[in-house]
Symmetry: C2
Subunit: 131 residues, 2 copies
């Protein structure tokens, strides 16, 4: 059961954490979440590996929300709602981005398109009630 090597334990834990949450956490949040079971993990390791996974295309960045970068372990294209008040990010899995947009964008931008992101910003129900 135990992996025979501990070399990538932190690295794997970071990826696994991201893939098992839909909270779209920041580096700091990943760090805090792993700290309870891995007290000796360091924030640098989290940043380093998030950056690595991002370069490898294993995770995606949502860009910054309120100044801090947020990550998504789900690389299937999907739509996001972002609350500008509390910073919560929710998946809108039921919405779909028309597929032809990608090729249309490639033609219009004269560029090699790597990704497409559709997101809505606003005030979530909770924040609206607590105002």
């Amino acid at each position: 059961m135990e992996p025979q090597t501990k070399r990538f334990r932190k690295r794997e834990a970071i990826l696994s954490y991201l893939q098992h949450t839909d909270a779209h956490p920041s580096a700091e949040t990943v760090y805090a979440g792993l700290k309870s079971t891995m007290p000796d993990i360091s924030l640098g390791t989290v940043y380093r590996n998030l950056s690595l996974f991002k370069d490898q295309g294993m995770i995606r960045s949502l860009g910054s929300v309120k100044g801090v970068e947020r990550f998504d372990g789900n690389i299937n294209p999907h739509v996001h709602f972002i609350c500008t008040c509390c910073g919560a990010v929710k998946d809108l899995h039921e919405m779909h981005i028309p597929q032809e947009l990608n090729s249309q964008a490639a033609v219009l931008s004269h560029a090699k398109i790597q990704a497409c992101q559709l997101s809505f910003t606003g005030i979530c129900q909770e924040c609206a009630e607590n105002k």
Copy 2:
């Protein structure tokens, strides 16, 4: 011709700068661009007023590109292409976001939607050639 007051001169200049460019500049870029005609403008003023305009809905933020926030003086909804290599942002005015998506998002997210953003990321032609 000359405005009878100088009180809002910097503030107006910042807004005007944004509204007359399609370069989607950062705070630093706005500052550098205005510095030539307004040598005594300060970076703090640029940040302060960009934040003010953003809150008032007179400009929009595209979020961070390569770690720095970018602004758009054109608040009509439109699609962006962002080069992950050089950070250039181009408008894709020919593309349109289906209008019904907004209300669909409101229903699915149980939230009050304020804005919608569709952007494509990739490598622009110039960067592809210079590699």
